[in-house]
Chain length 226, copies 2
Amino acid sequence: MEEKEISQAVVGRLPRYLRYLGELRDEGIERVSSQELSDIMHVTASQIRQDLNTFGGFGQQGYGYNVGYLYDEIGKILGLNREHRLIIVGAGNLGQALVNYTDFERRGFLFLGIFDHDQKVCGKKIRGITVRPMEEMADFIRENQIDIAVLTVPKNSAAEVAELLAADGIRGIWNFAHVDLQLPRHIQVENVHLSDSLMKLSYNLASNGRDDLQWAESGQESRSLN
Amino acid sequence: MEEKEISQAVVGRLPRYLRYLGELRDEGIERVSSQELSDIMHVTASQIRQDLNTFGGFGQQGYGYNVGYLYDEIGKILGLNREHRLIIVGAGNLGQALVNYTDFERRGFLFLGIFDHDQKVCGKKIRGITVRPMEEMADFIRENQIDIAVLTVPKNSAAEVAELLAADGIRGIWNFAHVDLQLPRHIQVENVHLSDSLMKLSYNLASNGRDDLQWAESGQESRSLN
DNA sequence: AATCAATTGACAAAAAATTAACATAAGCGT
DNA sequence: ACGCTTATGTTAATTTTTTGTCAATTGATT
């Protein structure tokens, strides 16, 4: 299945390509060259071509790239062509905020369950989804073929809960807890360490004045955040 | 002031060093070698020494690093020794969740104001902070010496609001809106593009089975955020 | 049909980041 | 005090990432 080990740096840029291609598509633009995209996105045309070619020849010499086609292909690469079934673990403020953010659903990320240790919030409904006690989680994951768990529990219980999730057959964890999870390698972990991000901003404020690139991309770090 | 242009890759790793050093310190451990830290954090000892030396010689040959001292120094580098004064712009679910997350305050990031366009939420109190109308924002920023704005408005109004903030003298923007902001270079922007992060996770699930590193760092990265 | 302009995909070069190696300095034990 | 061990800071090597270049291919134009 796998070809030759694609770097996370490249993968991290794909969502941004997708976003700009979506905008072009919505404007009714059918074709785009790497140079045009370069001008809009402020990355080199060479990098765009290199990145896209990592996954295949989506363009045509002398023509450029078909916006709609490229959009779809990148979406497929990112796994957006298939449905993802998620649960939120930890019904605190952040967990609730994520459930209420409907953009994810439009991308095929379906929030199917919410779990919390606290009996007081169990039973409460958030956007139509009932908060359930942790005890029901294992069965729920299996019965509803959940593949991703969003971990929004306090940092001191994160490791423990993550191990439960791993045991219950979860394939990926979107980790908002401020710890590094140690799990079997077949389980994918994507960290969102908000305080790390804020500290990076703080650093860049402190070491001010420098002519940093304003146009960095998120993650990796943009530079931002990432 | 500035020495020789420090890479964002290095900066992005500092918060993680800080986190592990804080844990060691809390355990009462006074000294640590790059090799010990390497074992705990799963990065090479060489990288740790290289990273730390970017900012100065914090260690001592034959001894290692003093945990408390190193912790403090990294904190200073990240600007955590001084107070940061923030406002939240956009009192939606995410904005409210961030205000309620008290860990930031412990690091010296003080939420002093919340602003929203919607008259219905104005006047509401979130953790003691009153939501104010956007019209009052400019004065508030000046009167309270706000340096960072947390941008949690919908993506279609983000650019507009960001320009207001820039005009009002904000120095940094922590941007949760799913757009790239185009602002004067002296304004630092740190992006948190959550959907990008989720797509990365989706990719790594799709291209499964690969023996990806379980121990990647956030941002950037890491394969996280950032 | 033939030429011209545009633009990719591939390869090469350059730059950046990571890892390795090692000389040097500090502590520790005898 | 002396030698041995430890572990940094630094330089060098390696690897990865990014950027530049160009032949080859397509579409447009005459």
